[in-house]
Amino acid sequence: MATDHELHLRDRLTRLRSLNLLGGSRLSGELEKLQRQLDRIQSAPTDEEIWRSVELARHQDRPYTLDYVERLLEDWVELHGDRGRADDAALVVGLGRFDGRTVALIGNQKGRDIKERTHRNFGMAYPEGYRKAMRVMELADRHGFPLISLVDIPGAYPGVAAEQHGQGGAIARSQALMARLDVPTIACVIGEGGSGGAIATALADRVLMQENAIYTVISPEGCAAILWRDAGEARKAAAAFKPDAVHSLELGVIDAIVPEPEGGAHTDPDEAAQLLGESLRETLDELESVPADELKRRRRAKFRSLGVYA
């Protein structure tokens, strides 16, 4: 029989809609894990905690897409090119085995050192990147592979060539394709979920977010520059629009929070990968039991329900 302590915890869990918060752990019996999650979400994050998330999400040692790929996927084969114009290194795509099944994976990729950062364009995709992602989404759909999308982008690249090659249209069509896919799709924000550049690859059945990731309509600096005419007011902007995972969950923008190692994902990439892997496995198992038509219907209904009006 459940102890009072457990009943109390379960009660809190229900009130916090926190089945959602348990990405990576299971309700049955794992009290310690429950407690750990609960301790973390007892109260809404303070302005200081929100800013810490901004810093951790951008931490130079934070694991990037390929760090998770090498820890979570077997037989990884990276694919290249949009079959039209270029191979955008800021967005990687490929196939691999996850937990015994073939999956297609797309993910934004930043660089570790100056040379790689330049090569990866600081993780900011051109339209070619989205076209490359769309090619792999179509491939996944054709062969029935679930799609995993790891999101970590400061924003789509704001350059002359990017505009000439159709940045806006590419972002729109990438979302539209995700709304049409017949395979299960999971997106996880693993660092910066920056605006249009992020949502382009995040229209998924389930959207997860790592504990210290951020999800924003505009960067705190950009928001501050427009509203206060001073990019230095970024902390104030972040406090105002609350880009952290807990607030994103409260607003229904994400479905679950993926825990990170104490101190942030960069302190222990292996544990971070393990926790992410557990969440992905649990979510995929759940989605794979849903018929394709129903998946698509629910996916669209979920996004169509977002917003607050009267």
Binding site: A156, P158, G159, V160, A162, E163, Q164, H165, G166, Q167, G168, G169, I171, A172, R173, Q175, A176, A179, R180, S195, G196, A198, I199, A200, A202, L203, Y215, T216, V217, I218, C223, I226, L227, W228, A240, F241, K242, P243, H247, S248, L251, V253, R299, R300, F303, R304, L306, G307, V308, Y309, A310
Partner: protein
Amino acid sequence: MRARSRIASLADAGSFVEEAADLRSEYPLHFFDLRPYTERLAEAEMKTGLGEAMVIGQAAVEGTACALAVMDFSFMGGSMGSVVGEKFSRACDSAAERGVPLVSVTASGGARMQEGILSLMQLPKTVCAVEDLHDSGQALISVMTHPTTAGVLASFASLGDVIVAEPGALLAFTGPRVVQQTTREKLPENFGLAEQNLRFGHIDAIVPRPELKPHLARLLRLFSPDGN
């Protein structure tokens, strides 16, 4: 061009029936910048006489029935928040239910950042609404007017089965000022304008204002099963 004038210039006289006019924003995070968001909304409503940055409804264009979703840049820069997203979404449903095409006319600076991440979510929301419209067999005709940028260009506006623009309209995901500031690149002449977008293959046609109604009427007839 203001939304009401635009509707008057496109819809046959007396044919327009507005829908969802009462929708208003109710943002839960109490966003403050220099002034509270609610104050900005009230001011915009006073100034424009509109409840939001988009007006939707049923109409006929040269006798062909359609749905209309028309944006107004005067209302907070035509920014897309929860209400614009919901109105566009309902316009898609209304068109699907009545079995008619939807014409959108956009004028927008992008997502409404005062609504934080929920404004970004209006991108996938409107995209899903267009997909549902398409699944019902109906078309979206997108008219991009000055300016159609950022979140609106990166969502429903770019998903038109046919996309037409007004001469000289700025159609860009990132506008020239921000591109210049961020990249310090030298901007080509006419950067991001409709004429450049046509040249690079992003839109189907540039149609001057006096020709817009007959152009749309022809398109609407082509998408209507019996041609009228």
